[in-house]
Symmetry: C2
Subunit: 337 residues, 2 copies
């Protein structure tokens, strides 16, 4: 590996001069700097990240804390595509992305310790139990943190606008003439709470009354539990005309139940999903759903995190809402009153 020393020798200058020239410091002569850069390129010089990190305490490395109890993790398209976009933006801005775990080899260490060990310049926290002590410790540390879909005091958070998403979805469904709307929601998280609240509020605003029996609990990304909830809804004396699912994938469970009962979508019953994953638009009829803008969420998370790293003074913690977009699809029937 060619080092600055090699370049300095070849150019007949000191290592310091090489360092400054390569980093664009101002106190190096124009022609000298140019020459050094040329030689460096010719010799195939690459900075030694470890040495630089040791000296500067900056690694240009971003940590991704991405844990989930379900183990479905990356399998969930919302997260994988969010991560994709985060990674792309981070790379554009000159940062690499490393996963943070709670052990190095055999010995367990807290997330914070792992971050410190790897000297991550910042961390994005996604999809995990935000109340776990380990996570709280990390978030409250001196390391710049951006969270996704969860707000910690004083920390920047990127939030998919679940309230708006549900509002738009319910509104659309209501516009199609539905008054009996059932809602199957996911397990209890802050996101779920927002969705439920938005569901109730929107219905109220629209003058739609929601019987308690129309709101069922299930699990995210779990078709079986949504299937069960669907069965319960269908066995009601007064059936809903439209069922909203926790997410597009879970809907697949409900779909099976509807199939079994010979209920056609949307003729016999209307349905809506959430997330807007690839699959949802492959289905026939295309699923009515609302697309969370993972592209922007991931990009924004990277941008904010890096801003926060590079301008700690200027950057202010804020909560950023990213709106979703309704995808009408064809799974909600227009009902004429």
């Amino acid at each position: 590996m060619v080092s600055m020393k090699d370049i300095s020798i070849k150019c007949g200058v000191s290592v310091a001069t090489v360092s400054k020239a390569l980093n664009g410091q101002s106190d190096i002569g124009k022609k000298t700097a140019q020459h050094i850069r040329k030689v460096a390129k010719e010799m195939g010089y690459l900075p030694n990240a470890a040495a630089r990190a040791l000296k500067t305490n900056r690694t240009n490395n971003l940590g991704v804390l991405f844990v989930d109890n379900m183990q479905s993790g990356l399998m969930h398209e919302y997260f994988s595509s969010l991560l994709n976009s985060f990674k792309a933006e981070a790379e554009l801005r000159g940062y690499d992305v490393t996963f943070i775990s709670n052990h190095i080899g055999q010995s367990t260490m807290s997330y914070l310790e792992h971050c410190r060990y790897r000297a991550c310049d910042g961390v994005v926290v996604v999809c995990c139990d935000f109340n776990a002590p380990d996570v709280v410790e990390l978030v409250q540390s001196e390391i710049p943190v951006v969270t996704i879909d969860h707000v910690f005091n004083e920390k920047t958070a990127i939030l998919s606008n679940n309230v708006q998403c549900i509002r738009d979805l319910v509104t659309y469904i209501a516009e199609q003439g539905h008054r009996k709307i059932a809602f199957i929601h996911g397990e209890d998280t802050s996101v779920t709470q927002k969705r439920i609240a938005s569901f109730y509020r929107t219905c109220q605003e629209l003058g739609i009354t929601v019987p308690e029996t129309y709101v069922k609990s299930a699990l995210y990304h779990n078709p079986a539990s949504s299937a069960e909830a669907t069965r319960a809804l269908l066995s009601l004396a007064d059936r809903p005309t439209c069922i909203m699912y926790p997410d597009d994938f879970s809907f697949m469970g409900g779909r099976n139940v509807l199939d079994e009962m010979n209920l056609k979508i949307p003729e016999d019953i209307s349905v809506a999903g959430f997330d807007g994953i690839y699959l949802s638009q492959i289905l026939q009829p295309a699923l009515t759903t609302v697309r969370q803008d993972t592209l922007i969420i991931g990009r924004e998370a990277a941008d904010r995190l890096i801003d926060c790293i590079e301008n700690p003074k200027v950057s202010v913690a804020e909560q950023i809402m990213i709106d979703g977009r309704l995808i009408p699809g064809q799974s909600v029937k227009r009902i004429d009153e």
Copy 2:
């Protein structure tokens, strides 16, 4: 941050002694070592990865080269779940995982340069254009490399046993009495070639003749193209009784076509997928498919790569085949002759 120096002062020994004690060198007295370790823990000592890397040229960092033209990348469950398993095993053995890209900030650099810059101890190469000059350069470099589903000379490769997978699948279908089996395959890659070859050979062995019209080309992970191929197959005078798809997800496109034409699975037509993703078993009827063992593939890739890093002398490049497992499902009908 507490450093070895802090510990050495507190313990009244030299930094060298601390280093040796913490690394379990033999030339330190039992009680001294024990005491040093205790103090280190008390003080919350964490090794400085950069300093260590600088000195040892080892980062305990593994690169993942994961590019795909389709941009579907992580969205494909085969890859996301493989990566998950790779990551888990790497972490178990004390390595972190970083993505490799072809640029740092604005300036482009080759994959190899990126690896060198980050000083990755090794790289796993997945899902990319294996013939791109950049990739070839990396694979032929001095950096330990393990490839997945592609063999380079002299390099360790982990291969999903596509030949066996297809053989088992075709055999199963034939056992159910089918003699008219159509095969929609993905775009031209080495994996695809193996699958096609295995398809033809197995059919031959089973005495099944395959008309040219029964073999169609489509794209992986692309329901639309599989839908088109399905349409073509159904318009044949002599229709196949069973259609094999490039992958489970693409099958969803074919499924729509079958639906439109009012063909029931498996009563009117049998179908089979490939991969064994979560979705395939949610469908009703459950899809007959063959599960690629991403868990083992990912784990094995990490293990081999790390072996190769830690024992460069001993470890020998080899191709490791990981068998898949047939999932019978219910989408292939038993035909009585």
